[in-house]
């Protein structure tokens, strides 16, 4: 039983009993190893279902959009930054929320771990910084730091930036992280190579829209790919249409993406969809010194103008 889990349950139970909130949005244990399910808890009796471990990678800010109730929400660093973004974008009101902040030590990459074993994994447990993987006839102990989700490995905001109560002590932030190594590698490619890179990257895409739908930023009432009058994009699996979807979606996330990794985690084909959003994150950081969701009192770079904004792109 994780200490964070126990604390989340304790806080949730108290808030529900005191009637301060109508519900808690958190995670319950999944039916598969390395999977948890986002869940809604409305009564103190059901608080026992809430868990916390390294399999809570889905961003719960997604589930707040448009809700009217008073909600206790479990939020790790990235979730909290997306809550801030929601507040800026008026998707939810601060006084509707009781944010149960969870200082986070990273989520594990279930696909990476699965690919390390020939046989099926039956059970995954964790103890401090170790991940214990068991299957029929094998057990292996892995260093958690080596099997983190890619976004978690380079995360520099593990602690919630906004919260009402914490479920654990603040954790040490990772220092000297090179966040943009992968982006620079793509940037350095000549145009043809870049085109081939993105074509290969997206060739498995089946347009299930799991990346979009897992993303807390994607809340448009009708996504541009679903518009029919006019219809901007073809609906089949033509690569041009697929690329149009991914590139445009990424642009819509510019200056808003917190690199929570929900998109990549959700992709059933394991496509590295962060390759798109990370480029825009890098640009926003390098051009405007902007990191999304750090403060609710500052407007995002794409809806403000400053005379000293860089304009080197005008040729």
């Amino acid at each position: 039983m994780s200490e964070r889990g126990a604390k989340i349950r304790e806080i949730s139970e108290r808030l529900l009993k005191e009637g301060k909130i109508d519900m808690v949005i958190g995670f319950r244990k999944g039916t598969l190893p390395m999977m948890n399910e986002p869940c809604l808890v409305k009564s103190p009796e059901d608080v026992k279902n809430l868990v916390w471990d390294s399999n809570c990678g889905i961003n719960l800010a997604k589930y707040l959009i448009g809700r009217k109730e008073k909600i206790g929400v479990v939020a790790k660093g990235c979730d909290s930054r997306n809550i801030v973004t929601h507040l800026i974008e008026n998707k939810i009101k601060r006084d509707q929320l009781f944010i149960i902040g969870v200082p986070c030590e990273g989520m594990i990459d279930r696909r990476k771990i699965a690919s390390m074993f020939e046989k099926e994994i039956k059970e995954v447990a964790e103890e401090k910084n170790k991940i214990i993987v068991r299957g029929s006839g094998f057990e292996k102990i892995l260093e958690k730091s080596e099997v983190l989700q890619k976004n978690c490995a380079i995360c520099i905001h593990r602690n919630p930036v906004i919260y009402d109560e914490l479920a654990a002590d603040i954790v040490k932030e990772q220092k000297n992280v090179d966040r943009y190594k992968d982006v620079r590698q793509i940037e350095s490619m000549p145009p043809e190579e870049k085109r081939d890179y993105f074509n290969d990257l997206l060739s498995p895409c089946i347009r299930c829209y799991a990346c979009r739908n897992a993303c807390p930023l994607c809340y448009c009432p009708t996504c541009f790919v679903d518009e029919s009058r006019p219809q901007w994009v073809g609906k089949g699996i033509d690569l041009t249409d697929i690329k149009t979807f991914h590139f445009l979606r990424a642009y819509h996330c510019a200056g808003r993406c917190t690199d929570c990794g929900a998109c990549e985690r959700a992709c059933p084909l394991g496509i590295d969809v962060r390759a798109f959003t990370m480029k825009l994150e890098k640009d926003c950081f390098e051009l405007y010194g902007w990191e999304a969701g750090m403060s609710k009192d500052e407007r995002p770079p794409l809806d403000t103008y400053r005379p000293d904004d860089p304009n080197d792109f005008f040729k």
């Binding site: 999944g30 039916t31 598969l32 999977m35 948890n36 399910e37 986002p38 869940c39 809604l40 889905i58 997604k62 589930y63 690919s115 099926e120 039956k122 498995p204 089946i206 347009r207 299930c208 829209y209 799991a210 979009r212 739908n213 897992a214 679903d226 029919s228 073809g234 609906k235 089949g236 699996i237 033509d238 985690r265 959700a266 992709c267 059933p268 084909l269 394991g270």
Partner: protein
């Protein structure tokens, strides 16, 4: 019924020979994932696999399929006239398809081939295909085929069943299509049918015993549709669902589609694309009204269709073969086994007021 033995040293040669009469499809590993694709010359299927990430339904029923072509050029006499396109319906064989995936086509066929309507696209592709199954020796924890009327050695929907016996395959012919394929591959090494059948039977029992995941569907039939529809568990069940199409696209038994015209310059095509009941657009009316506008309604529809409407309509069991793909691919862990149990065990609470 005939059983022959294919020594693995004759495997590649036989497959290559059969390519003279069939276009072969098989599982191939691509970037860590197995997928079904057409095998090139000299290319072999990778039969050492659990199952493909996505189901092989796309071989019969492509995600995007061109149905007609047309011209908008009014100088042409045939402008604005839909013309059927030429599709290659020469014989094909799918090598190494899992029994669950082959059985799925039979469930789907009830939709594409009814006494009133025949979907020629689906039927032409289906009927010209020979299904060479590969019995499943190592099912996973998410496989629950034995309680969906299927099984790791299930023969329904197959023309030939291969059983991997180490240095050889036993090939059990199920239909004349299967026999024709054996002939085309030149495999005819007879064997002691009785002994081999005993051996296959034992392997079958061993494989079935490895399946430890079950669903109970026995009470679904007697539940009132409206009771299940109004059951209180849907809100909680649907909460996590992000309404992506991963489950429906990966599912071997999901068949819904949408038809679109795409035009480039003067020439156009009419295509049909897979669609998904998880998407709001799936039911959006021209008026703007959407009868399934909420997440919960759409999730309920998916499970009600698979587990209640379909069995009620056809009386032949649920619209699921227990392959487990939707469980493995769901990013928020919505598990059809759990939902099925909720539905099957649901009793209406009678209030006394």
């Amino acid at each position: 019924m005939k059983v022959i033995k294919i020594n693995k040293e004759n495997w590649a040669g036989g497959l290559e020979k059969s390519k003279g009469s069939y276009r072969l499809f098989g599982p191939v590993k691509n970037n860590e994932l197995h997928e079904f694709k057409q095998l090139d010359k000299e290319e072999l299927p990778d039969c050492d696999y659990f199952n493909t990430r996505l189901s092989p339904k796309s071989i019969i029923y492509p995600q995007s399929e061109t149905m007609f072509e047309f011209s908008l050029d009014e100088n042409r006499e045939d402008h604005h006239i839909l013309k059927e396109i030429d599709t290659d319906y020469s014989p094909r064989a799918i090598i190494g398809i899992r029994p669950c995936d082959a059985a799925a086509f039979l469930l789907v066929k009830r939709n594409f081939s009814t006494p009133e309507y025949k979907d020629s696209y689906w039927l032409n592709a289906y009927e010209t295909t020979t299904f060479i199954g590969l019995a499943c020796g190592n099912p996973h924890d998410t496989c629950f085929c034995t309680t969906t009327g299927c099984g790791p050695f299930n023969e329904e929907g197959l023309d030939l069943l291969l059983v991997d016996a180490g240095d050889c395959y036993f090939a059990k012919t199920i239909t004349s299509k299967g026999e024709n394929f054996l002939r085309a591959a030149g495999w005819d090494a007879g064997t002691d049918v009785e002994t081999v059948c005993e051996q296959i039977k034992t392997m079958k029992q061993e494989a079935e015993a490895k399946i430890t995941s079950f669903v109970a569907t026995d009470k679904l039939k007697d539940k009132k549709t409206t009771d299940l529809f109004d059951a209180p568990f849907w809100e909680e069940t649907a909460f996590a669902c992000i309404n992506c199409g991963a489950c429906t696209y990966a599912c071997p038994t999901c068949w819904c589609f949408d038809i679109q015209d795409e035009v480039s310059g003067y020439s156009g095509i009419r295509i049909r694309n897979w669609d998904s009941c998880m998407y709001p657009l799936f039911t959006l009316h021209g008026s703007g009204h959407n009868p399934r506008s909420t997440n919960m309604q759409r999730v309920r529809q998916r499970f009600m269709h698979k587990l209640k409407y379909y069995p009620d309509r056809y009386g032949e069991g649920i619209l699921c073969v227990g392959c487990g793909r939707c469980i493995r691919l769901c990013s928020v862990n919505i598990d059809i086994r759990r939902v099925c149990d909720l539905m099957n065990s649901y009793e209406v609470q009678v209030t006394s007021d």
